[in-house]
């Protein structure tokens, strides 16, 4: 148990002394995770909207795929992306392997199904007449969909937070495509894994706590925004 306490103390020490490495790792974590979340939202929101409102053959299978995709094992995604980015792979020429860009790609692949699945169900929960009423006021399809998204912003923010949570916490893909290189692709999760494998359990827990702290900060802001839009009861 004292390990947990030591971890807390260590986390405070790292934050208080402004340990440079820790800051760099934290900053990279935020950059990569937010970047991946942004990409996932850009791709996933339109897809999720289509699944929710359009009728096309294979809609259910796509949705089942997205739901399954929420369970995409990061290691497997990491392996796929790695194989693609290998020098011998189809995208090898870009030299992206073991760069933050590669991590963003892999993590976006992990987060996109989460966004698609949760956006789809969020929009399906909105009154089906909502979009009709928007069109009945002269909305073009694009504007009607934007209005629908605005109406569902409570669950949409939850989807964004779930996506962020999925990427900020995962280690398999970050490790595999990033390589956990010091000063280049080491993020808080991979640093925690390394500390663990070195037997520095307190340090590992400290990294974990710092990770939770920044995730909490991000989510507290989003939650306040989200709940401000909740129906007053």
């Amino acid at each position: 148990m004292d390990v947990l306490l030591d971890g807390l103390v260590e986390a405070l020490r790292l934050l208080a002394t402004g340990d440079e490495d820790t800051w760099a790792i934290t900053a990279l974590t935020l950059r990569v995770s937010l970047g991946a979340t942004a990409v996932a939202l850009l791709v996933g929101v339109p897809l999720g909207t289509a699944v929710a409102v359009a009728r096309f053959p294979g809609r259910r299978v796509l949705l089942a795929g997205a739901n399954t995709g929420m369970g995409l094992p990061p290691v497997v995604v990491g392996l796929f992306v790695t194989v693609l980015l290998w020098r011998s792979g189809p995208l090898g020429a870009f030299g992206l392997l073991y760069t933050p860009a590669a991590m963003v790609i892999a993590q976006a692949a992990i987060a996109t199904p989460v966004v698609v699945a949760l956006v789809a169900v969020a929009l399906q929960q909105v009154d089906p007449d909502f979009r009709v009423q928007m069109q009945a006021l002269g909305a073009t399809p694009l504007r009607a969909h934007l209005a629908l998204l605005a109406e569902a912003r409570l669950p949409l923010l939850a989807a964004a937070m779930a996506a962020f949570g999925a990427v900020v916490s995962e280690v398999g893909a970050a490790q595999m495509v990033g390589g956990n290189l010091v000063g280049q692709t080491r993020v808080l999760t991979t640093a925690a894994v390394l500390a663990t494998s070195r037997g520095q359990f307190a340090l590992a827990i400290a990294f974990g706590l710092i990770l939770l702290l920044i995730a909490f900060a991000v989510n507290l802001v989003l939650t306040v925004v989200q709940q401000r839009t909740a129906v007053p009861r």
Binding site: R87, N180, V182, T196, G199, Q200
Partner: protein
């Protein structure tokens, strides 16, 4: 000793290399068959394995990080430490060998790599391999650092992969390299140097490390792995698949000069 009981199980903390090479898959069933002890293997970095021993979370260790091991033994929580086996490290690099280390001694090789600022990929995870590498740097009088020196903080397999993709040098145990060489663009550029021995010891933990440590289990495992049947298994392991053994059985030899 006591009659073996089917329910008894012990925790073995060991390095990833013994698991990744497949050695344990061969040894443990034989051990269980011989003694009745079930084994829960926790394959982790040497640092973590030793730390688990220190905390009494493991009953017996099979590790290859001599300096850290001696430190642990000196603390007094461990029981016997016995030599089990060794294999050797190899220096790997791209076929082009930009730093020109082919054929030179290990210490000279790392000095040349540093001088050429050629990419070197280190495990950087306090593992036994990492410790051996550190030994080479200090012998060469180099404090590695800078953009050419990359630390992955990961296991051997992953580190080999990174070195291959980055076209860099690295230090690896022979077993892992042999197992993965087909998928890697790395060549053996340095081997056979006495500085490149990778020695495994078995360490029994005692109740001084923690109340729940099972010294009898530890003794059973340590005693078995240095016994003749186990040593035979170790000495033959890998021949079928790679045409050469991956480890050399060392039990009973002089701890200072295994293989010698």
């Amino acid at each position: 000793g006591a009659a073996p009981s089917a329910e008894r199980s012990l925790i073995l903390a060991t390095t990833t290399s013994t698991q990744d090479s497949g050695l344990l898959d061969e040894l443990l069933p034989a051990f269980t068959a011989a003694t009745g002890w079930q084994v829960r293997t926790v394959a982790v970095g040497s640092g973590q394995a030793i730390e688990l021993g220190r905390r009494g979370e493991a009953d017996v260790l099979l590790v290859h990080s001599p300096a850290a091991e001696e430190e642990l033994v000196a603390e007094g929580t461990a029981g016997q430490r016995r030599l089990v086996m060794h294999n050797d490290f190899v220096l790997l690099g791209p076929a082009a060998d930009p730093a020109g280390i082919r054929g030179v001694t290990a210490v000279e090789a790392v000095a040349r790599i540093a001088a050429a600022r050629a990419v070197f990929v280190s495990r950087g995870d306090d593992s036994g391999t990492n410790a051996a590498e550190d030994g080479l740097w200090s012998a060469a009088g180099v404090a590695p650092g800078g953009t050419w020196y990359q630390e992955t903080g990961q296991g051997m397999g992953e580190t080999l992969r990174v070195a291959s993709e980055l076209g860099g040098y690295t230090l690896s145990d022979r077993a892992t390299h042999l197992a993965q060489r087909d998928t890697l663009a790395l060549e053996v550029l340095g081997e056979g140097d006495p500085g490149l021995l990778n020695v495994y010891h078995v360490i029994e933990m005692t109740t001084r490390a923690g109340d729940r440590v099972q010294p009898d289990g530890a003794a059973a495992f340590a005693g078995w792995i240095v016994s003749a049947p186990a040593q035979e298994l170790i000495g033959g392991f890998g021949t079928a698949e790679f045409g050469q053994p991956l480890f050399t059985a060392d039990a009973g030899r002089n701890p200072a000069t295994p293989g010698g």
